[in-house]
């Protein structure tokens, strides 16, 4: 039997080639063709991404069901190392090998929630309410504590009574935007996980 990788195999079978190729693979044509619609991976969309854990930043391939058209909900069903990535060359370590379970973890948050002072439970709220309430808190604190000039009369325009800690798992674009917004508001009480 010739050497065929799984992806080549899927390509051959999904393309529905004639009996000769399938016979080469050791199948009799009829049952193999009858199996076609059951190959989940053959119907997946492949997306290139990066393992978010350590800074080797291994290339990964995400396989999702759904073709990414607007009205279709995609679902990631398999993840593996990207063999083209020059650093990891297709490998993943035990951390990265569990990525699928992190994406689908039971602990993923699905809705905005609030815990009111002194209570013991979360309460689901809408995004609109969540962002409204947070925006009002931020504005009230900024307006009450903004410092325009220091004791020596120097313009300092700072706000340091609300703090912000940024993630080192967020993208550069998210980090940059957070930074821009924070300094834009005059905030200097910001730091990141990257420090520790």
């Amino acid at each position: 039997m010739i050497n065929v990788t799984r992806r080549q195999f899927l390509k051959i079978t999904a393309a529905g080639l004639g009996s000769s190729s399938l016979a080469l693979l050791g199948f009799s044509p009829e049952p193999a063709l009858a199996e076609l619609r059951n190959y989940k991976l053959a119907r997946t969309t492949e997306t290139r991404n990066t393992c978010p854990y350590c800074s080797v930043s291994c290339g990964v391939l995400l396989y999702s069901l759904g073709d990414r058209s607007k009205n279709v909900k995609s679902e990631i069903i398999h993840i593996e190392g990207d063999p083209d990535n020059p650093v990891n060359r297709g490998t993943l370590c035990p951390k990265g090998a569990g990525l699928l379970d992190m994406i689908h973890s039971a602990d993923r948050l699905k809705y905005p929630e609030v815990r009111e002072p002194g209570t013991t439970e979360w309460k689901r709220i809408s995004w609109d309410e969540a962002l409204d309430r947070v925006a009002k808190h931020l504005k009230a604190d900024r307006d009450a504590n903004f410092i325009k000039t220091n004791d020596a009369g120097v313009t300092v325009n700072r706000w340091n009574t609300t703090g912000f800690l940024a993630s080192s798992a967020a993208s550069n674009e998210a980090g940059y935007l957070s930074h821009k917004v924070l300094r834009g508001l005059g905030n200097i009480a910001l730091d990141t996980q990257a420090r520790i």
Partner: protein, 809 residues
Amino acid sequence: MTNHWVDIKNADLILIMGGNAAEAHPCGFKWVVEAKANRKARLVVVDPRFTRSAAVSDFYAPIRSGSDIAFLGGVIHYLLLNDKIHHDYVKAFTNASFLINDSFSFTDGLFSGYKADKRSYDAATWQYQLDEQGFAKVDDTLQNPSCVFQIMKRHYARYTPEVVNQITGTPQADFLKICEMIAETAVPDRVMTICYALGWTQHTVGTQNIRTMAMIQLLLGNMGRAGGGVNALRGHANVQGITDQCLYSEVLPGYLGAPTDADKTREEYLAKRTPKPLRPNQMNYAQNFPKWHTSLMKAWYGKAATAENGFCYDWLPKKDAAYDVLALFERMYQGKLNGFICQGFNPLASAPHKVKIDAALAKLKFLVVIDPLATETAEFWKHYDEFNPVDSAKIQTEVFRLPSTCFAEQDGTFTNSSRVIQWHWKGADGPGESMSDTDIIGGLFVKLRALYAKEGGALPEPVLGLAWPYRIATQPSPEELAMEISGKALADVADPKDATKILAKAGEQLAGFAQLRDDGSTAAGNWIYCGMWSQTGNLTARRDPADPTGLGQSLGWGFAWPANRRILYNRAACDLSGKPWDASRAVIAWDGSKWGGNDIPDMRPDAKPDEAVMPFIMNPEGVARLFAFERLLDGPLPEHYEPFETPLDANPLHPNNPQALSNPAARVYPGDLEALGKASEFPYVASTYRLVEHFHFWTKHSVLNAITQPQQFIEISEELAREKGISNGHRVRVRSKRGQLVAVAVVTKRIRSLTVNGRKTHLVGIPFHWGFRGATHPGYITNVLTPFIGDANSQTPEFKTFLVNIEKA
């Protein structure tokens, strides 16, 4: 990393110290194995534990946690004593020949300029001697007693093999064997790389740990070389990128020092940060600071930033104090913070002294947690048995938990440890109503802006004036942001050498930071990322792994900052004439008219070798600093100081000066000194660390990872186990001055006791991946044990060395 993951394969000797790459960076460690298999490289591991990296090493030596500078200082002494240095390199490319101010001194563990009441140094005496033109004086013979080489020689003469053994516990023979192996790379055609991680940074002497190693690499001539460098194996997939975006109070994107109260005007601010050359002919690249800063102001404030208003300099907040993680929690603890936002960060688990963090969070009016997962921080108010024994009713903090998407559900870039920026694509939507971080921050800002437009408030101008050119205001797209970070021309940018030649037309993306201007005609959100999205498109999305020279550079894969350069300081890979030190590992070379090779030259392309433009172009002296006259707060030369919790009564190097027991310049908050334990009560050294199956407090939410490593444990040596009557599988209680945890004991040969300063010293190993949320068995947050004190320079907490006691639970 000054070099990159694949480049490790080019090394002859690999030192892993202050890290455990086989376990924490497994797929990067592959390149260590590759070097061993293909070029017979040898691997040396120095670590308090016989780690998985040690298991495949050619030579392993144990060391007491927290004594790395003593070890490395001993290596410097060995290299100098035995004349095992790369002479031409050291003479030309370092400041070994520079003369230092004659009033510089080092006495009884303290450098000149120490102010005990402030626990800080005045660096006035650490400076170069300057001539009339303002250039540093040098002595090319390296004989002048005031030159760096001689100062260094005297400083490390104390670090004899006997002293190294006394402080580190490393057997002398092991230490000397490693010195010999390292010394072999002093010749031009042998190269060593060093891979370290948090095992070096998480100490009160963290920055100086790394500096000591950098000095060794300079003495050996291993910086800028393929297979060499000083390589930090960093944490998260984008920890490098977030560091570069500089979400730190003290810097703006691209490491531009943020203005403080002392910088009253833009002119003063720029002048202080724009260095003058300290030697003739040097590039002094930081002289371009005004271009980088002005371009940032244009990216942030757009049309509002004009030459007339100093490009909105007044709008930039001026920093008055420290706001690092420890400082923030200290402020919170003192009731000085009302609100707090945690974006993808779980400080209740990751910050030291959990009890203090708990108390601090309870003082907030509101807390906002943005995260894909249910973190401990978001539920600090909730009672979880002994793991989080709080009384919810007493905690008045209003807490918001906002669901964000994770990596697989967003487009954007991550920057890996090799500084390579790589685009990733979204594979599916996030669960439920989760939103991306950019949409959450964008949505929040648009709401705030609307409130300011409607109601006014404190200084509304910068809020209303912040440049917000995004097609959908509440959803700045990753593409728009990446282009903004990279930078564009706002007016035609002409060639400075030929005004008729336009390098970039108005509106075009810039090709690189050389095109940035200080007159407001360019905008770039982060100068070191300039060019990652040029007029030719998104270079971070490039996927050409081609490696024509076999050195592993892959210049067509993603985009490395700066300027797609893969090996920093690569000019130093050649001798003064521009010829590679080692032709078989040539990076760049001078071809008679320009610099070129298989990397982007870290040098002006037309700088003739006889112009003597030196490789360390960001330094105004053009050479690397064996002696650091600025930037380090705790001394120009690394010195061994004990951890803040130490098993010793005195610093063996300065037994009579209690001020020099631990880092004299480390910041100590009131109350934290009292929260430090003494060896009489807590006799064992403890260290927290990672396991191959888990990543921080993240993978415990993943079932597969939870299955492979489900339950919290600690590790002790057979000897300590015997002394304490503990067997494998027993439950033990580990106590520090600040808290305690209970876990299963694993008795292992991987840890052994060491004799330090004549006394037996034991290590308690504490893997840290558990918490009260997740798919694993619930466990204690190990930071219930750790001290609230950080490195003098970076304020990275001392997680790697503290004192505990243990007993059967």
